[in-house]
Amino acid sequence: MTDNDTILSLRGIAKTFGEKVALKRVDLDVRRGEVHVICGENGAGKSTLMNILAGIHQPSAGEIVLNGEPVRIPDPIAASAHGIGMVHQHFTLVPSMTVAENLFLGRQPRRLGLFSDRAAMVDRARELSLRYNFGLDPNAPVGQLSVGQRQRVEILKALAFDAKLLILDEPTAVLTPPEVDELLQVIDGLRARGRTILFITHKLREVKSVSDRVTVIRHGESISTHRTADVSEADIARDMVGRDVFLVGRKGDGAARSFGAPVLKLDRVSMTNSHGRLLLDAISFDVRAGEVMGIAGVDGNGQTELSEAIAGLMAIQGGAIELCGRDVTRASVAERQEAGLGFIPEDRLDRGLGVTMSVAENVAATNYSRAGILRHGFVDRGRLDAFAASKIKEFDVRGAQASTPVGWLSGGNMQKVVIARELERDPALLVVCQPTRGLDIGASEFVHERILAAADRGHAVLLISSELSEIFALSDRIGVMYSGRLMRVLDRAVADEATVGTLMNGGEAVAA
């Protein structure tokens, strides 16, 4: 079994943290020189498995066979001695140091065995960057690099150790679509140079485009390994979730949809921060009843500010906002809710939920009188719990009871609590930001269905997402934001990924 082709095999790897079983039983064979994707929903155990390979965790059971020899990997230093390098989900760079310093942190080339040899270090860094065509300036402080560049520093760091087996843990989670494409090219290049790559992701498009083989992990068990060419995205999704998955969307129907009157009107909305920098630059658009208006853009180009301006959480310095015919430019959050605003913020833990409060209190937060929870002005515990229970059922919030602290739930179930709360008011306008960020396929599917159902019931939906596939799947019109400006609004019928991608990077679109 461990012939020359197999660089790594795992046999029956298990891992428990206290009572929590993170990995039940994982078998995996990785061939020399292949790109092998490990794919699975959030919490499936992917990071835990990779951390075992990187020497960060010790397996509770099972065997690791590397180059035909059973090995133990007691710590990260042993891992790199075995030629295993890992790029973690969360970066481990020092922002104030330069690229070269980060690359050789703790193992600088020495002169006379004592003094660090800066010149040699910078030269080696430059040479490495050139060899892999990474285009990194060795003297640039890491803090000034873009996320994609930082990631390349991380990869280079692993390569500088001469890693034969490179592990990338969800490297694309933090990247913009063009950066993802660049990374996929980098990975191609590394494969061409004979490196073996373990690539972790739960995005199906990436699986198909980059990998030779794919192994699916579900609930801590390896479910299947296939040649990527032999399986479809739907096959992989089914293995990940354990049932058939319907990738919802408007895309197929093609039927001309009719919309009502504008529910939200923005007229030259502008916002500056305290340093005078323009965050929103005269943004104007309408969202009509029954319509999903998508706002695409790379994170940090004003989408957060736009959503908070509409929700009444950040003040604007110019322009006007009209909601259901009412001027709400200066209205409080509560007044906007009264006028018909529903708001699903981009960060559930930060804005969306009081994590230590119960599911019941979170879902009731804006709905005490509306949902008849009060009796003689006091909260009726029975009614509160009944209301929560009905929402838990309706929105399929798993693992939750009314009194469960909402922070104990998984990301997807937390998001369902937010959505349940905001939809309870039957808002004329639903502002939805990054609704599936960090969610697995099953939960994303559910969230998308709810958004489309809301639009079908005649709500106006403003969908803000940096996930292009989401924008394209759900939107009737697509606006693109770049650097605080709304570059263009395209009809779904004429929009394509290339045009939108160009606009997202500030380029003028050639096509209409």
Binding site: A311, L313, S332, V333, A334, R336, Q337, F343, P345, D350, R351, G352, L353, G354, V355, T356, M357, E361, A364, A365, T366, Y368, S369, L374, G377, F378, V379, R381, S403, P405, G407, W408, R421
Partner: protein
Amino acid sequence: MNEAARSFLRAIGAPLGAIALTMALGFLLVASITDEPVQAYRDLLFANFDSLGNFALFLNRATPLTLIALGVIFSFRAGVFNVGGEGQLYAGAIAATVVGVFFADLPAVILLPLAVAAGIAAGAFLGWIPGVLKVRLAVDEVVTTLMLNTIVLLFTSYLVNQVIRDTSAYGAVSRMVAKSIWLPPMPGVPGATSGFLVAVVLALVTWVVLFRTEWGAQLRAAGINLRFANAVGVPANRRIISAMLVAGGLAGLAGALYVLGIGHRFEQNFSPAYGLVGLTCALLARIHPIGALATALFYAMMLNGAAYMQISTDVPRSLVNLLTGLLVLLMTARLRKSGLRG
């Protein structure tokens, strides 16, 4: 219901365990100091119940502790780290005294509510200042409440020495408030202030307000996550200021009730750091009003019991500081552990 019972047991199991462990360690300590550890420990724990008189003193101790702890709970639940209980207490006591001394001619039906209201208002005002400064100017409330403590203590010292001093008495004490507004003792326990009943009722009211009203839910939301509270349309700043008004008002009421029910005048040294101990009671009760009633009673028992123990044996009363310190340590260690679980 079974689930609720189990979670209740778990909630009180930890504090009870910490108390038991503290007591066990304390016993070893006492045994190393004195030949009669059993006697010492009996006095510490049970002398409070030896006579009706001792029992009355015990309730009198528990009254201000409970009220201050309730105030602390309001402010902490709203996310304000209010350590100004002592200042708010003194402000309430001096305000009630001034009214009770200078308007002694008014009929009791007017003067009593007036004195109580003055105490509440003075404490509330002291709570309002750090609340507004925090909300409007982001001034740290720990600094402002601590500074206000000092200011109020010095200011009351000035008033009691220079303005309303009882020159016929020793020490820095004011003239007596009108006898017509002295609170009646608790029925059946002569010497115990009926203010204790007020404290018990207010503990229940606090629980209802915090956990059974929308206002309370909003206040707690503001305390748990301000950005979340804003996003769901809670007027968070208003709730925070209100919480501080209530917190100060409760501590002020503690001062007023002390004057009207126990001291009958303002004494500069009437508080053995009630503010700090009340804060500790609230924290040990995990900022839960009903729990705070229990911890306040426990602290009152320990504080008074230590005095009895010192009289009858050669164990110094400062042992109780050591024990309570140990208890805080064990309880917070426990808090950290449960915090990690969440």
